[in-house]
Amino acid sequence: MSSKKILGALAALAAAGLVAAPAASATPSAASEAFALSAKGLLNIDPLPYVNGKNGYDHKKVAEVPAKSVQVRALEAEAGKHNAKATVVNVSVDLGLDLLKELKLGGGQLLSAQVITSKCDKSGVSSSLVGAKLLGKPLDVAVPANTGIEVPGLAKVMLNEQVKNKNGTTTVNAISIKVSELQKITVASATCTPGKDGNTGGETGTSPTGKPSPTSKPSSATSKPSSSSSAATGDNGVAPKPVPAPAQLDVTG
């Protein structure tokens, strides 16, 4: 009966448009991207919220997950040209008796955590786990890259998983869980394209210290006419004129 129920639930999820998405490393385009949570298998959650920096800075935050098994206070992801960040706040994943039975797991909460973060930018790649437990096993706040841990009942757990992708990007997953061949879960994933020209999607050489920025002129000479020279970048410690960053934000019209 449990299998039927699960199949039914899967069908309902599929009908709701919740189809498994490819893992970050399989993305063909070389854009920075991030998501806070994804699950593939009996429990399916598309990377959520999914952002990428392909068309400019993108930043999304959600407070709900379309799956009963997962409770969160917030899932947040942002990605720019060469930076990305994913944050999960107050998460708990309870697979429920049927799924636990299907996955041959004992009872208990699969995952709980206060804050899980992963990020990459010009200063490096990192992830952290605060108050995190996997099937009751407490996890360290910070661990070296690609730290595999043994959790009885789970096929594979990798913390601070860092992967160099074929397209040149680097992905960091705070937690990568393979419950079994039937279920994978990724928590807090950030992927960055390599680049050293700043850590923001729209940052262009702002220089309050008096040195003119070499990059501000070409970028600011877009279609916008320049009407003032008084706010020019960095004269005598004067705050610079900003350069618009390609980005998307739904403001209040």
Partner: protein, 263 residues
């Protein structure tokens, strides 16, 4: 001089006693002395602080103590993830990231105490303010510009070093979704990649008090144009301030962190 002489010595002694007690008690509190640098936060302590961005909301937050007063002319660029405290030497309640929707993080200073600077912040609620310990994680600059918006007159005025640079007619929020009053600031400068009503948008630190979210976003109030100018001088938006393309061009010259006082 006569005043000093006429004050009885016992009163003076008592006053000195009071001052000493006050100094001692601040020195003995569990928090660091106000002027000292805060202890560096560990990975976990920093990680649990909520990000102070336009998507954030801080409960029981310290607010701008003087929303109608003039800010200082200093703005600070955050160059490294920076904890924000409820008072100098107080408790951290959030952290400023280095990026706000693709723009570098700049915040305006509204007060200073030694190396501690009280700044306006981009998260909810409106008027959120906190203290940063500036050295090491910021660059400061002077910003001669301020902007005032008078909702009743549908007018926006740009000032440089206190001198008016011109007044512009604007459109504002409708009665049920009013443009929020208070001391806000220019948070980011973006070239919109999805929404088409305005090629450039200047999001403020302000949020709609009536729209908790809007169009999937966090209800951020912004300065931007509209496909036509028919809304100028009217209360028809959902909280944003609609300006003409000419006005937007002038506003886009202003540094991030420029204080926008809405009355």
């Amino acid at each position: 001089m006569a005043t000093t002489a006429s004050v009885p010595r016992t009163v003076l002694t008592a006053l000195i006693g009071v001052v000493s007690v006050a100094l001692l008690s601040s020195g003995c509190s569990s928090e660091a002395p106000a002027q000292a640098a805060p202890a560096e936060l560990g990975t976990a302590d920093l990680a649990v602080l909520p990000d102070l961005n336009t998507f954030g909301k801080i409960d029981n937050a310290p607010l701008d103590p003087a929303p109608t007063a003039k800010a200082t002319d200093k703005v600070f660029k955050v160059t490294k993830e920076l904890p924000v405290y409820d008072k100098p030497g107080g408790k951290p309640f959030g952290k400023l990231p280095t990026v706000q929707v693709g723009s570098p993080t700049w915040v305006p200073a509204i007060a200073e105490q030694g190396d501690w600077v009280q700044v306006l912040l981009p998260a909810r609620p409106n008027g959120l303010a906190g203290w940063i310990h500036a050295p090491g994680s910021t660059e400061s600059a002077r910003n001669p510009y301020t902007v005032t918006v008078n909702l009743a007159n549908y007018s926006l005025e740009i000032f440089k070093d206190g001198a008016s640079q011109g007044t512009h007619k604007v459109g504002i929020g409708k009665a049920e979704f009013p443009t929020p009053k208070g001391r806000h600031y220019l948070m980011a400068s973006i070239e919109e990649t999805k929404n088409t009503y305005s090629k450039y948008v200047l999001p403020l630190s302000a949020h709609s008090d009536s729209h908790e979210t809007f169009g999937g976003g966090p209800g951020t109030v912004a300065l931007h144009t509209w496909p036509t100018n028919e809304h100028i001088g009217k209360s028809t938006s959902d909280g944003c301030i609609r300006v003409t393309p000419e006005t937007l061009t002038k506003l886009m010259d202003l540094p991030l962190g420029t204080v926008i006082s809405i009355t």
